[in-house]
């Protein structure tokens, strides 16, 4: 008997990606650059978050033809994004054999109240979270991997830092609590008591947790790793910079050697202009992507 789509198999692929960089790509050519730079997976999407932000309109799942071209171009796993709550986009991607689905706030939500019931799928899902409560709600819905949200397409690490600190800070607080305080804590963060207990016991999320949303330099990637992330997603940061290939390679090396300042200095040299980036304070509330799907 062989069984597909088990929790162990879904979480397992994320475990194989740990310590690596997952890069946003919009074409097969970009996917090849990402693979050659040492990416552990690519995220296929129609426009990188910075362009979605600039151009506006409704952002949807990428054209299946584009995704197929990307799948044919590389041997590393291919992920693709669906709108929050859009389970039909997810069915389409699963049918195509995409390796991981990102139910992502970067696309325009299809359902403002519900996420996809991810237990129904064989393909594993990654979901964004700003804090422990969001992370555990996504896990309860069947997510097999979490990424802290940051602010996609901003080129600014400040929100990513805020969200990693928020998740780890709450885990530390749980650790110091008595058993009888956990019920109220679970209620306050809006998560199931069973998951809260598990997190307290493990001292970390029960599955792989990457950082995302604003990583633009090798130092940004290393910062996320030193703060305890299992790996990083880099979206606009690579293909919105002046010279993507060397920057992609450097971010991969910085993610591996995250605690070695000498190597970090070496790989940070002469990379050209990073993406320009946005001061988050200049964004209006409705321009924030991170507040979608909480």
């Amino acid at each position: 008997m062989e069984e597909t789509g088990t929790p162990r198999v879904k979480k397992g692929l994320a475990q194989m990606l740990k310590g690596g960089v997952i890069m946003d790509v919009t074409t097969a050519d970009q996917a090849v650059i990402a693979e050659e730079a040492g990416a552990v997976a690519v995220m296929a999407l129609e426009r990188v978050p910075a362009d979605i932000r600039a151009e506006g309109g409704v952002a949807r799942m990428a054209d299946p033809l584009k995704i197929e071209e990307i799948m044919d171009a590389v041997t590393i796993p291919v992920m693709a994004k669906v709108r929050i709550g859009h389970f039909v986009e997810a069915q389409i991607l699963q049918g195509m054999g995409v390796d991981y689905i990102d139910e992502s706030e970067v696309l325009t939500p299809a359902d403002e109240f519900n996420h996809i019931d991810k237990w129904k799928f064989t393909v594993p899902f990654v979901c964004g979270a700003r804090d422990l409560g969001e992370a555990l709600r996504r896990i309860a819905e069947g997510a097999a991997m979490i990424r802290t949200k940051g602010e996609a397409g901003s080129g600014n690490i400040v929100e990513a830092v805020r969200h990693v600190r928020s998740v780890t800070g709450m885990i530390k607080r749980l650790h110091g609590m008595d058993e009888d305080e956990l019920y109220t804590a679970a209620k306050e963060i809006g998560a199931s008591i069973d998951l809260v207990r598990e997190v307290r016991k493990l001292g970390r999320l029960p599955l792989v947790n990457f950082a995302a949303g604003g990583i633009a330099t090798p130092a940004d990637a290393a910062l996320m790793m030193q703060m305890g992330s299992d790996g990083v997603f880099v979206g606009s940061g690579i293909f919105k910079s002046t010279d993507p290939a060397p920057r992609a390679k450097s971010i991969v090396l910085a993610t591996t050697h995250f605690d070695d300042p000498k190597t970090l200095a070496e790989v940070s040299k002469g990379l050209g202009e990073p993406m320009k980036g946005i001061d988050i304070k200049t964004l209006k509330e409705e321009e924030l992507l991170q507040t979608r799907g909480v």
Binding site: E2, T6, Q15, K18, E35, G38, T75, T256
Partner: protein, 190 residues
Amino acid sequence: MIVGVLAVQGSFAEHMQVLRGLAVDVRLVRSPEELRGVSALVIPGGESTTIGDFLDKQGLGDAIEAGLPIFGTCAGMILLAKKMVGKQKEGQSLLKKMDITVERNAYGRQTESFEADVKLAWDARPFPGVFIRAPRIAEYSEDVSVLARRGDAAVLVRQGRYLACAFHPELTDDDRIHRYFIEEVAKNDS
């Protein structure tokens, strides 16, 4: 005995945890210096392309001494193989230690990843096999012994001081294959 776990990327923390349960000293290895003094090496699952590139660029592949016992799981098995067939990135570096031919992602993409019991040659109890975008051993020479099969396919093979596994024992709490590596493959009998 110090067992090194190649810690570039992938499931190295999981391997470390299983090994610690076997009362050996474990050291994460990221550079040729960290390889010194290690009496066996584990190459974890992960992305073989990424890990292979790293071995190459850091000179780690060359720093592995002939005869150092190595246990490779999934991506680690791909790196130990002398030959690869199927879809493959050009110039992917292999350590080329075992006379096996491996086909990458032979069972298909992630939606085809599966769990299935595996029969070990030395123990009647089934082993929980976790196969994730798993490679397949397409061919092996007569110097290679098959230690586990799933159906007709060899999924755990040994050649002298090298042990290679198509699935992920590090993702389970069953330590029998790690124990076999430490006690049978890596033990210093000279």
